[in-house]
């Protein structure tokens, strides 16, 4: 069983040594081996599942992959009737809405995280943190409903005309104000990624040692100078990780965007114009696709989406892990946030 390692009788095992000793404890029994194998099987299940998802997506999109090749990514035509499929309008729409979401949701999320970590304490902080995290709990379809009936009319009647008046010389803010369009999609996404960015950034900011702040304050810096000079640089990797996690969510978000983006496969310069994203075209057309090639093309769009989000998430996780080691209990917070 657990024997102290050699040495003096006073040798006290470190936590890590105890863990190692525990994990080796009584591995000889058949029942122990069977139970350990069962748990191992469950863990391996997750690996197999992710492999199966990747494999299934490739297999299902095979007809489209071989037919269109790499040109699929750069072709602007999407004509299910004639059998011509290109993903460019969807890639463009996804990128534009995600960039809008990051430009709006990033600063607000980071600001909220700084306010939560530096300027609030006690039960007020708990309350406000919970409220911000609740933004992540509201289902996507409810944001979509709110977007259709509240956000889009406001954009159509007030925001978009005002932007056109003041910034109309920039191509981004020209053309008729529909309300539904890439701007609406981007803003809804900004709301949806805000809690992810805020929660992850708050956690990494809280992980910055107090000494770091005290040292800067002792030098005569103001609160903000302390945050900018000593706190944010220390937490930078984790904050960037949080923002990239938000990006990952924005890229793959489906329902809310589908409901407010206007669903037109076109590449237009104006943010007011209707667009389409990778996820929305799958949502809208998959169950109505008539030909095998159409189905395969839609799955290939799913493959593009899968590849991009896996890469983005992998980068984000590596960055966040550097700050919050997975073996620390606080890492659980990262799982609560989608």
């Amino acid at each position: 069983m657990i024997a102290p390692t050699s040495g003096s009788p006073r040798h006290i095992l470190t936590v890590d040594e105890r863990r190692v000793a525990l994990s080796k404890a009584s591995t000889g029994r058949a029942a122990d081996r069977v139970v350990a194998k069962l748990f191992w099987l469950c863990a391996v299940c997750i690996l197999l599942l992710v492999l199966a998802i990747a494999l299934m997506t490739v297999v299902q999109s095979w007809p489209s992959l071989t037919r269109f090749g790499i040109g699929f990514l750069f072709t602007q035509t999407w004509d299910p009737v004639a059998g011509h499929f290109g993903a460019l309008p969807f890639i463009y729409g996804t990128l534009v809405t995600s960039v809008v979401a990051l430009l709006v949701g990033g600063p607000v999320g980071l600001g909220a995280a700084i306010a939560l970590s530096e300027f609030t304490r006690g039960s007020l902080r708990d309350l406000l943190s919970s409220l911000v995290e609740l933004l992540a709990a509201i289902p996507s379809v409810v944001y979509g409903l709110w977007g259709i009936f509240v956000l889009a009319p406001i954009l159509r009647q007030t925001v978009e005309p005002a932007l056109r008046e003041s910034l109309g010389f920039i191509p981004l803010f020209t053309g008729p104000a529909y309300g539904v369009g890439m701007l609406a999609g981007g803003l809804i996404l900004a709301i949806m990624i805000l809690p992810t960015i805020a929660a992850v950034s708050r956690d990494v900011l809280r992980a910055v040692p107090v000494d770091q702040r005290e040292a800067m304050l002792a030098l005569g810096a103001t609160r903000w100078e302390t945050i900018r000079g000593a706190v944010i640089p220390y937490a930078r990797t984790g904050i960037v990780g949080g923002i990239i996690l938000g990006l990952g969510r924005a890229l793959g978000e489906t329902m809310a965007v589908t409901m407010v983006i206007g669903n037109r496969p076109a590449v237009s310069a104006s943010l007011f114009a209707p667009g389409y994203t990778l996820a929305s075209v799958i949502a809208n057309e998959f169950s109505e696709a008539a030909t095998d090639l159409h189905l395969a093309a839609l799955v290939e769009i799913g493959l593009v989406l899968l590849g991009v989000t896996v890469v983005v998430n992998a980068i984000a996780r590596v960055l966040v892990w550097q700050i919050k080691r997975p073996d620390r209990p606080s890492a659980a917070a990262g799982n609560v946030v989608r």
């Binding site: 069983m1 936590v15 863990r19 525990l22 994990s23 404890a25 029994r29 122990d32 139970v35 350990a36 748990f39 191992w40 469950c42 863990a43 299940c45 997750i46 998802i53 997506t57 297999v59 299902q60 600063p107 607000v108 600001g111 306010a115 300027f119 406000l128 709990a137 509201i138 289902p139 996507s140 379809v141 409810v142 944001y143 709110w146 259709i148 009936f149 509240v150 709301i191 805000l194 103001t222 903000w224 100078e225 990952g248 969510r249 793959g252 978000e253 489906t254 409901m259 949502a283 998959f286 169950s287 799913g302 989000t309 896996v310 998430n313 992998a314 996780r317 209990p329 659980a332 799982n335």
Partner: protein, 284 residues
């Protein structure tokens, strides 16, 4: 000692300005939440009535009806999801916490975090290829399976955290008494960690209950009650989506009512968990 007032005015201004902006950002985030919830409650409450909970949808053109079958459908889908995601997720979590010193464990941890980030719609595509095509029908099984896959990494990681928090002294005590390792795990460690595991499971349920995208071409939706889980099944989020993008005012009202029920369900689950966790943290 220098007095605070000796700090240059532009530094003080910058300080106040930036702190103000951060607090404003927090205010904006909370404000948006209240705005969205406020609309859902005010629009939804006016449209909720007993029929909403007891009747199935009426055909196009007739007003009235409800979403009873969709509410039950969501419960069935979540039940299927839990029966798939819970055992495997808890098993994987226990592996990560108890045997998790290997390279495999690091890989599993990483992959499950990545799985959390995979768009739910691509998981829907996976379930379509795996279950809908071979069974030749949209079905509750396929929808529940897709939701189960989404739950899996959440449950695995929260279980890992919960099991990890069980003090080693408890394991050592049991082992010292000669209790086999597996018995220690099953009868002592897991019961100690059950609170955390349940918390994780409830959070996972709250997350998948509102999912729409993976159900579009797996559960598919249904206007009627179902008699078998091999048939297409209605779900609350799906029904909200269909009604929201329809041109009928009466359906819009029902979409708001459905949203209120869905948001109420999801918030009740996540808030309940939060309160329970805090109470336990204070107690311990």
């Amino acid at each position: 000692m220098r007095k605070r007032s000796s700090i240059a005015w532009h530094r003080r201004l910058g300080n106040v300005l930036m702190i103000g902006l951060c607090v404003a950002a927090l205010g904006l985030a909370v404000g948006v939440l209240l705005l969205v919830l406020g609309y859902v409650v005010s629009e939804g409450a006016g449209s909720l009535n007993p029929a909403f909970f007891t009747q199935t949808p009426r055909p196009v053109g007739e007003t009235g009806g409800g979403m009873a079958n969709a509410i039950v459908g969501t419960l069935i889908l979540v039940a299927i999801a839990v029966s798939i995601g819970l055992p495997i997720g808890v098993g994987a979590g226990v592996y990560l916490a108890e045997y998790g010193r290997s390279r495999l464990a690091t890989v599993v941890r990483f992959v499950s975090d990545v799985l959390t980030g995979i768009p739910s719609i691509t998981i829907g595509l996976f379930a379509y290829g795996l279950l809908v095509v071979p069974l030749r029908s949209f079905s509750a099984i396929a929808g529940g399976f897709a939701l189960g896959v989404i739950m899996l990494p959440v449950i695995a990681r929260t279980t890992e955290e919960a099991v990890r928090l069980v003090p080693d002294a408890i394991r050592e005590g049991a082992l010292a008494l000669g209790i086999p390792r597996w018995k220690t795990l099953v009868t002592i460690v897991l019961p100690t960690a059950i609170g955390g595991i349940v918390t994780g499971a409830i959070l996972a349920v709250a997350r998948v209950a509102g999912e729409t995208a993976p159900l579009l071409f797996t559960a598919f939706g249904n206007q009627f009650w179902i008699s078998s889980i091999r048939q297409p099944i209605a779900a609350l989020p799906l029904q909200i989506f269909v009604y929201a993008i329809s041109p009928y005012d009466d359906w819009h009202r029902q979409a708001w009512a459905g949203s209120l029920v869905l948001v109420g369900l999801v918030l009740l689950l996540s808030l309940g968990v939060r309160v329970a966790v805090r109470r336990r943290a204070l107690g311990g």
